[in-house]
């Protein structure tokens, strides 16, 4: 029986942009493509659109399935669908694979029209601002002047923040979840260890591994394992794995013994099968560079003063990679700038990953907030209310 809360079978689309664009770094891309999916129906005045911004390893496939027998649904399927918190009966939801990604949008593995070979090491470094610029071009293409809401977790939350500063009139609501106004030194340090793992893998070939018909699998695997440790909390990991041994006894060797080792290696292997090493480098670099206060005298409140959106900021108690303190910095800046903002700090054992999990208070919060947004832009007919 079909799940009536699922968007069902979905198909990605591609938007082609054939004119050159200048990126924040000054580099020029001669052309690019963005792969995206949409769910729900755009209303007559195109006011009910929601943009979902993805995090480091995310993509455009946010909800539903491509094939009926797909094992997993889109990465935020628990949040998006008919009757779900991001309700596709009322909103037109867009998921997009960011520029530089490895799920169909133009990225380092794409062919450089100048050379006829994959970009590899020549693909320009991107900033969050570049994603916002290209997402805005996609919005123009789809006839969307203003988003009802722009929503993102982690690196996605940074995109929502950047949107609200760069295009104030195009964002009614910004939902910034498990995010930060900039990374701390510790956070940049984690990113750099992940990058070093990739760059020093002999199969990386300076980023041009495509020509050698290989991938820096070991580097990617290590990068992902490290990342995963930081996305979970100590307590959450302890609860799930503890000191459990796979065989029940010590083997006095260096093979997989503890369950946590097995889990991390599995996650690393899986990731290195499909994720592009150059994309990983790009994404982590965009995270490191993000600092919207930088152009406002390091005053985040001054940066947020540009915004016209109303904000919902959410953090999770055991998230130490994007800790509640970082979210509170965003909230403080918005309060100082006298913006409309609400802030929730959700109790969770799941660390940074909590933003992707199903959790009753978290989903009630999202549902409550977005129901009001829907009432603003796409009111229900009177009879449906009764």
């Amino acid at each position: 029986m079909p799940d009536r809360h699922s968007v069902g079978i979905v198909a990605p689309q591609t938007a082609v942009f054939d004119a050159p664009i200048q990126l924040a770094s000054g580099a020029i891309l001669p052309r690019f493509e963005l792969v995206y999916e949409t769910y729900g129906t755009l209303n007559a005045d195109a006011s009910n659109a929601i943009l979902i911004c993805h995090a480091l390893s995310g993509h455009h496939h946010v909800a539903g399935r491509h094939q009926p027998d797909d094992k997993a649904a889109g990465w935020w399927d628990n949040m998006i669908g008919p009757g779900k918190p991001i309700d596709t009966d009322r909103f037109f939801v867009i998921g997009v694979n960011n520029l530089g990604g490895c799920h169909g949008s133009t990225g380092p593995a794409s062919i450089d029209p100048g050379t006829g070979k994959p970009y590899g090491s020549r693909f320009p470094v991107l900033l969050v601002a570049d994603w916002v610029q290209t997402q805005a071009m996609l919005a123009d293409r789809l006839g969307i002047r203003q988003f009802a809401a722009i929503i993102g977790g982690s690196l996605g939350g940074m995109q929502a923040l950047r949107w609200s500063i760069t295009h104030p009139e195009r964002v009614r609501h910004a939902l910034v979840i498990a995010s930060a106004p900039k990374l701390t030194a510790q956070n940049i340090a984690f990113n750099d260890v992940a990058r070093q793992a990739i760059i020093t893998d002999p199969d990386f070939h300076g980023g041009d591994f495509y020509q050698f018909d290989t991938v820096p699998r070991r580097g990617l695997r290590l990068a992902r394992m490290l990342g995963h440790i930081t996305y979970l909390s100590d307590d959450g990991m302890g609860e799930k794995f503890g000191r459990m041994l796979r065989s029940g006894e010590y083997k006095f060797g260096y093979d997989v013994e503890f369950e946590i080792e097995s889990y991390l290696r599995y996650q690393g292997d899986k990731f290195s099968d499909y994720f592009d090493a150059n994309t990983y480098l790009l994404m982590t670099k965009a995270l490191d560079y993000f600092d919207p206060a930088r152009h406002y005298g390091d005053d985040l409140a001054e940066a947020m003063r540009q915004a016209q959106a109303r904000f919902l900021v959410v953090s999770f108690t055991t998230d130490w990679r994007f800790a509640p303190e970082r979210s509170r910095e965003i909230v403080k800046a918005l309060l100082d700038a006298k913006k409309d903002v609400s802030y929730a700090e959700i109790e969770s054992a799941h660390g940074h990953d909590a933003f992707l999990m199903e959790d009753a208070p978290y989903h009630a919060l999202m549902r409550g907030y977005l129901a009001r947004v829907a009432d603003e832009v796409n009111p229900l007919p009177q009879e449906a209310r009764a």
Binding site: L312, V331, L335
Partner: protein
């Protein structure tokens, strides 16, 4: 001084009597911070009827969800750690309604209220209410409409009387600028410290201190 409680505007949702009185004290178009705002009823009423903009602060996630669902700005935070996220003088009014009796650091929160706001408004159950005194005379801890808990399960740790609260304001260098005492929702003018069970006090920093 404030006027007597007027009925809420026609069609308005019913407000708790203390919130109703607070609503009357707050000037149209002002900025309000509501500490321990619960489900956001006061701020929602003030936004609709008095064009007020502001924020609630609430520790309980169900309260936060309720506020957000009615479109009230709310910051989930523990009042015991202070109001560091708010700048000096950033509000016209800071409200603390039926919360102070359950707080540890009362001097701290009152000082913070006076820092971030021009006017503070506190409401609390009056421990000097005659029914409470009568129950103590009978040898029992009081349980009443405004103090509905048994001694062993109460969240309340700091009871005071109307007179006690005034003395604390003076100690903190603050000035009482208005007081209303209610009994069962009605205003009490005669011997309020004995006959009222709910006190509302408005205060400001005393410019002389």
């Amino acid at each position: 001084m404030s006027t007597a409680i007027k009925p809420a505007a026609t069609g308005a949702p019913e407000l708790r009597p203390d919130l109703n009185q607070i609503g009357h004290w707050i000037a149209r178009g002002s900025r309000v911070l509501d500490l321990g705002c619960g489900d956001g009823a006061l701020l929602s009423w003030l936004a609709t009827h008095k064009d007020v903009r502001g924020y609630g602060v609430e520790i309980d996630v169900d309260g936060v969800v309720a506020c957000i669902s009615r479109g009230v700005n709310v910051i989930q935070s523990n009042l015991e750690v202070g109001l560091a996220q708010f700048e000096d003088d950033s509000f016209d009014y800071v409200v603390l309604s039926l919360t102070i009796q359950a707080m540890h650091n009362i001097e701290g929160i009152l000082t913070e209220m006076a820092r971030v706001g021009r006017t503070g408004i506190v409401t609390f159950p009056n421990f000097g209410y005659w029914e409470n005194r009568w129950q103590i005379l009978q040898g029992r801890m009081p349980v009443s409409e405004t103090i509905p808990y048994e001694w062993y399960n109460t969240p309340n740790i700091h009871f005071c009387t109307v007179s006690d609260f005034d003395r604390l304001l003076i100690k903190l260098g603050m000035k009482n600028t208005g007081r209303v005492v209610l009994a069962n929702g009605r205003r009490v003018e005669f011997m309020p410290n004995l006959l009222g069970n709910l006190a509302l006090v408005r205060f400001e920093r005393d410019s002389r201190s």
